[in-house]
């Protein structure tokens, strides 16, 4: 019900939020500025080479460190369609869902540029003919993601007459 297909960018373990978006760029509401510095601390060429719809495939503890929501925002604004990682730091996980950046927790082995296919509903990731079963996301979080994040989700509810 929720499929994403994209080109893989490969990163290792413990990609922290300071490298995803350094602290000095945080004081802004300009999302394109965040996008232009995405992953700068780890891969300065990322923001100029990433294409809309690409997928990050990483190791353990992706997004560790600070609670800055600008980290998933920077990735999303830069064009990243989803993040797959062996595990996520819990604040990043919540933040990504809340701002509408899909993620799947799965141990996926692939190389830079491979095409990866995510099935969020089932929590699976396909690379070539290999399918990896990841952690299935609870339905209420999938709904938030499908609405494009928590802000849009709440607005939609309000339009339906929720308090």
């Amino acid at each position: 019900m929720f499929m994403i297909k994209g080109r893989a960018w490969i990163y290792g373990d413990d990609v922290d939020t300071d490298v995803i978006i350094p602290g000095k760029y945080l004081r802004t509401k300009d999302l394109s500025l965040l996008a232009s510095h995405a992953m700068e601390g780890l891969d300065p060429e990322f923001s100029s080479k990433v294409k809309k719809g690409d997928v990050i495939v990483a190791g353990r503890n992706f997004g560790c460190g600070s609670s800055r929501e600008q980290a998933p925002v920077a990735l999303k604004e830069a064009g990243v369609a989803a993040v797959v990682a062996k595990s996520f730091a819990r604040i990043f996980y919540r933040n990504a869902i809340n701002i509408g950046l899909p993620l799947v927790e799965a141990n996926v082995c692939c190389v830079q540029g491979d095409t990866v296919e995510l099935d969020l509903g089932n929590g699976t990731v396909r690379v070539g003919d290999k399918v990896v079963q990841g952690t299935k996301m609870p339905l209420f979080l999938l709904e938030i993601l499908q609405d494009g994040g928590l802000v849009a989700h709440r607005r939609k509810e309000k339009q339906k007459g929720a308090p």
Binding site: D13, D14, D16, D18, V19, P22, G23, K24, L26, R27, T28, K29, G41, L42, R60, N61, C64, G65, S66, S67, R68, E69, Q70, S87, A89, R90, I91, R94, N95, N98, I99, P138, F140, G149, L150, V151, R154, R155, K158
Partner: protein, 414 residues
């Protein structure tokens, strides 16, 4: 047989039954916090959600600490907007520039209370666990959700119980223990889990030390880090507590895993750049040259920390530029009254206004390309304190010895 985390989350969910680890509950938040940095996006999300009034202005705490006093017109204007929003919303627990770091201000102002569910828009909100609270960090949109509805979803964590025994050697402190444990468990060693520290060493440890220990929990991925409250907790909260509180404790046998540390032979520890879990004894990097020493932050900017540093620095001139930033105005005042500030200034250290300082690399003492800082803060990720700079994390004692020597050295060695 529930843990502290299970008991607090179950109580706050109002379900009347104990939630098991792995379960997702929706729970009422007792206190919520955002600072000058995270408030900006939280308010934007709050407004974008279509929310107009906050759920309870008395339960929201907003300290300004991350970029204070504002270093440019962009930060100043954003701070002005947050200040104005807080006023319009009737948030009286607003603490402007100079009051201190959020994680020091909430305990001092009596919001970090045993048994409470506290959510902060900052990853080091786990610090409040030092008072027996279940306290976690979240991002801006979750904060907007709480500001709107007062509730949030939580996954009930399993708990790693860590028993600490033995007496710490001179010049070895809670920071060294925190680093040692992070080095052993790794940066994701406690991801999604709660940690509970207990045992003889914890009972004897000051509130300040317990806060250091809990503060660093997130550096191994912990959701919450908790110390069971005791008479020391009550003594600290006496005259501060904003509400009545009911401490809760873990039942015997409720931990998912149990670890044990005997600190008797623990040496001073340092986390090497650029990983908090790259921890080795200080003795292994004897003589490493440094360009700056920074003593402060929510990890180690308390009176006890400044006192340790002053004792070591007294009578010397610092050999490298040294920045000392008390974690709060209350601490700065006490340090002034005790002559600590005089000793530090006399040694030619700089004293900054209570706040986060250069910890996050945005302001007030950032380092240059290729420079090395020996810091009492909690993170040393690449570029954290300035692009191209490296950060070694250590205790106030190790930092103070570094300040007078100009290189990293084992405390008390020379």
């Amino acid at each position: 047989m529930p843990t502290i985390s299970q008991k607090i989350l179950s109580r706050a969910s109002g379900s009347g039954i104990i939630a098991e680890p792995g379960e997702i509950v929706e729970a009422d938040v007792d206190y919520a916090m955002s600072h000058d940095g995270t408030s900006v996006l939280a308010i934007k999300a709050f407004q974008d959600m279509g929310s107009e009034r906050v759920w309870d202005p008395e339960r929201i705490v907003i300290p300004f600490d991350h970029q204070i006093p504002a270093n440019n017109d962009v930060a100043a204007t954003l701070q002005k907007e947050v200040r104005e929003w807080a006023r319009v919303q009737g948030i009286s627990n607003f603490f402007d520039c100079g009051t201190g770091v959020c994680h020091q201000v909430l305990p001092e102002q009596g919001f970090a209370l045993p048994g409470k569910l506290i959510v902060g828009a900052d990853s080091h909100s786990c610090t409040y666990g030092a008072f027996g609270a279940f306290a976690i960090g979240v991002g801006a949109t979750d904060t907007a959700e709480i500001y709107s509805r007062g509730r949030l979803w939580f996954k009930v964590p399993e708990t790693i119980g860590i028993r600490i025994t033995g007496k710490l050697r001179p010049n070895v402190a809670a920071k060294d223990l925190a680093l040692k444990i992070i080095g052993d468990l790794g940066a994701d060693g406690a991801t999604y889990k709660a940690i509970e520290y207990f045992g003889q060493t914890i009972e004897e440890m000051s509130i300040s030390g317990r806060m250091t220990l809990c503060n660093m929990g997130v550096e191994m991925g912990a959701k919450a880090t908790i110390v069971p409250p005791d008479e020391k907790t009550d003594a600290y909260l006496n005259g501060r507590a904003r509400a009545e509180y009911s401490p809760v404790f873990s039942d015997p046998g409720s931990y998912d895993t149990e670890l044990e540390y005997d600190v008797t032979d623990l040496e001073p520890q340092v986390a090497f750049p650029c990983r908090v879990d790259n921890v080795r004894p200080v003795s292994e990097l004897e003589g490493t040259k440094i360009d700056q020493v920074f003593i402060g932050t929510c990890t180690n900017g308390r009176l006890e920390d400044l006192e340790i540093a002053a004792k070591i620095i007294k009578g010397h001139k610092v050999a490298v530029r040294t920045l000392v930033i008390p974690a709060s105005r209350e601490i700065l005042l006490e340090a002034l009254q005790k002559g600590i500030i005089e000793i530090l200034v006399d040694a030619e250290a700089m004293i900054g206004p209570p706040g986060c300082g250069p910890c996050l690399g945005a302001h007030m003492g950032v380092i240059g390309d290729g420079e090395v800082c020996l810091s009492t803060s909690n993170r040393n990720f690449p570029g954290r304190m300035g692009k191209g700079g490296s950060v070694y994390l250590a205790s106030p004692a190790t930092a103070a010895f570094g300040a007078i020597k100009g290189y990293i050295t084992e405390p008390g060695k020379n």
